[in-house]
């Protein structure tokens, strides 16, 4: 199929893009990598009347400043795999990025597009939640900072308003003695996941001092697991047995039940993936210390 008619506008500056988005309101959308929007338009699941092309705006740097790593909205997925600021600080993030689609998709898709598209099992929304990310959204009226944990309202739904666009994501730099891992299960390599789990740990003297856990496939959006995170404090890196705490967490889940997996299967899968991610994060922490 082919898209319905629309008007194309190439923005040369952020100000111009925001003015155009404000003018078009609900009828307009930014286009970044086009790797999710154009399939939706070709299938006529999306029919925007106006597209504002933001590819000429720059917004494609990864910088460290004041304890945070700031990732521009137009950074393409493949960039992280060769970026020391990400490789050195966010091992779980790197695991997750490797699982996004295929090389051509990773070369063209952007973080702003992935977050705004909000596929329920996309990797970057989960990873931004896991790493306590903040999403910076701009509109003609100014900027808002939105914690990733409060950005997603449901499958393909975010708190972004008409006229607003993502300009960057900021991830706080973790302390030196930290570790992490991400694991997912998909029907085929490169497909969207059925479920996924990311874990990060801070540790001292062989024990976990702080943990973060985020998973997808467990609900309509990715989510953090605060009770489980608390239960993991004090865990020995050498014996990362947290089966009881993980079971207590998965019991509370109410995952989707659909053609690709039943709710029970997803609940069990999230538990398995969490155990695996936790074990890898612990063994990485031991290797490094």
């Amino acid at each position: 199929m082919r898209p319905s008619e629309f008007e194309y506008h190439k923005a040369d500056s952020l100000e111009q893009a925001l003015a155009l988005l404000q003018e078009f309101g609900d009828e307009g959308r930014p286009i970044a990598g086009g790797q999710s929007l154009v399939p939706m338009m070709n299938l006529r699941l999306a029919r925007p009347a106006h597209l504002v092309d933001i590819n000429g705006l720059g917004l494609d740097t990864i910088e460290k400043k004041d304890g945070v790593i700031r990732i521009g909205a137009l950074v393409r997925h493949e960039r992280y795999l060769a970026e020391p600021l990400i490789i050195d600080n966010f091992p779980a993030f790197i695991d997750g990025v490797r699982a996004i689609g295929h090389p051509t998709i990773r070369r063209n898709g952007t973080i702003g597009g992935s977050l705004a598209h909000a596929d329920p099992t996309a990797e970057l929304p989960l990873l931004c939640m896991l790493h306590d990310g903040e999403i910076i959204a701009a509109s003609a009226g100014g900027e808002r900072r939105l914690p990733a944990t409060r950005f997603f309202e449901g499958a393909y739904m975010t708190v972004l308003e008409a006229g607003e666009m993502i300009v960057a994501v900021e991830l706080p730099v973790p302390p030196a003695s930290s570790s992490g891992a991400f694991v997912e299960m998909a029907e085929r390599r490169g497909d969207f996941a059925i479920a996924a789990c990311g874990v990060t740990l801070e540790h001292a003297r062989g024990r976990v001092t702080r943990a973060a856990v985020a998973c997808s496939g467990a609900g309509q959006t990715a989510m953090r697991a605060p009770q489980l995170e608390e239960a993991l404090e004090g865990l020995e890196l050498a014996h990362p047995d947290a089966a009881a705490a993980i079971a207590a967490f998965t019991e509370t889940l109410n995952p989707p039940d659909d053609h690709s997996a039943s709710a029970d299967y997803r609940r069990a899968l999230v538990g398995q993936l969490t155990e695996q991610a936790l074990a890898t994060a612990c063994s990485r922490a031991m290797e490094a210390s």
Binding site: M1, R2, P3, S4, E5, F6, E7, Y8, K10, I31, G34, Q35, V38, P39, M41, N42, L43, L51, D53, N55, G101, H102, P103, T104, I105, R107, N108, R189, G190
Partner: protein, 164 residues
């Protein structure tokens, strides 16, 4: 309608396109490049892969209007009518194709990978080769012949480099 200038396989042309025209359709219909195959038109099969400013890009997920001033390479720029680029020859000798529908997409996806491995002077393992072509679907060959073709051409390149 939007006025754009496109450089395609060395030929520069100005043309006027509707916003919604896909690059894949413009290449096929305005430039008569029937080697740009459309399998799914939603990013899932890789058949329509071309190089946009030197990098692989799915032409079914690209509007021609976005390509003003850019340079496009299609499979027609590779090996000519004889299809005698070393990777194309290896596809023939290793049974990397049968009906051929997916072949232009595989060739355009894999040429940069072969060049990268040659530049790094290393033979990728099977898993790396399969990852490099994971965005392309082939319904005929079962992929093994394509993996062999990639290995063969990288092997030849490494040998040549070793002699030089």
């Amino acid at each position: 309608m939007i006025e754009i200038t496109l450089e395609v396989n060395g030929e520069t042309r100005r043309l006027s396109v509707e916003s919604r025209r896909l690059l894949a359709d413009v290449l096929r219909q305005e430039f008569n490049l029937s080697g740009v195959h459309i399998g799914c038109a939603h990013g899932a099969c890789g058949c329509c892969t071309v190089h946009l400013d030197g990098k692989p890009r799915l032409s079914c997920l690209t509007f021609a209007a976005q390509c003003d001033g850019k340079s496009v390479r299609t499979v027609e720029s590779v090996g000519g009518v004889g299809a005698d680029h070393p990777l194309q020859k290896a596809f023939r000798s290793e049974h990397g194709l049968q009906c051929g529908y997916c072949t232009p997409g595989f060739i355009m996806t894999l040429i940069p990978f072969v060049e990268e491995m040659t530049a790094e002077r290393r033979m990728p393992d099977e898993e790396e080769i399969r990852e490099a072509m994971s965005g392309n679907i082939c319904r005929c060959t079962g992929y093994q012949g394509i993996v062999e073709a990639v290995r063969k051409v990288i092997g030849e390149n490494l040998e040549e480099g070793a002699q030089a």
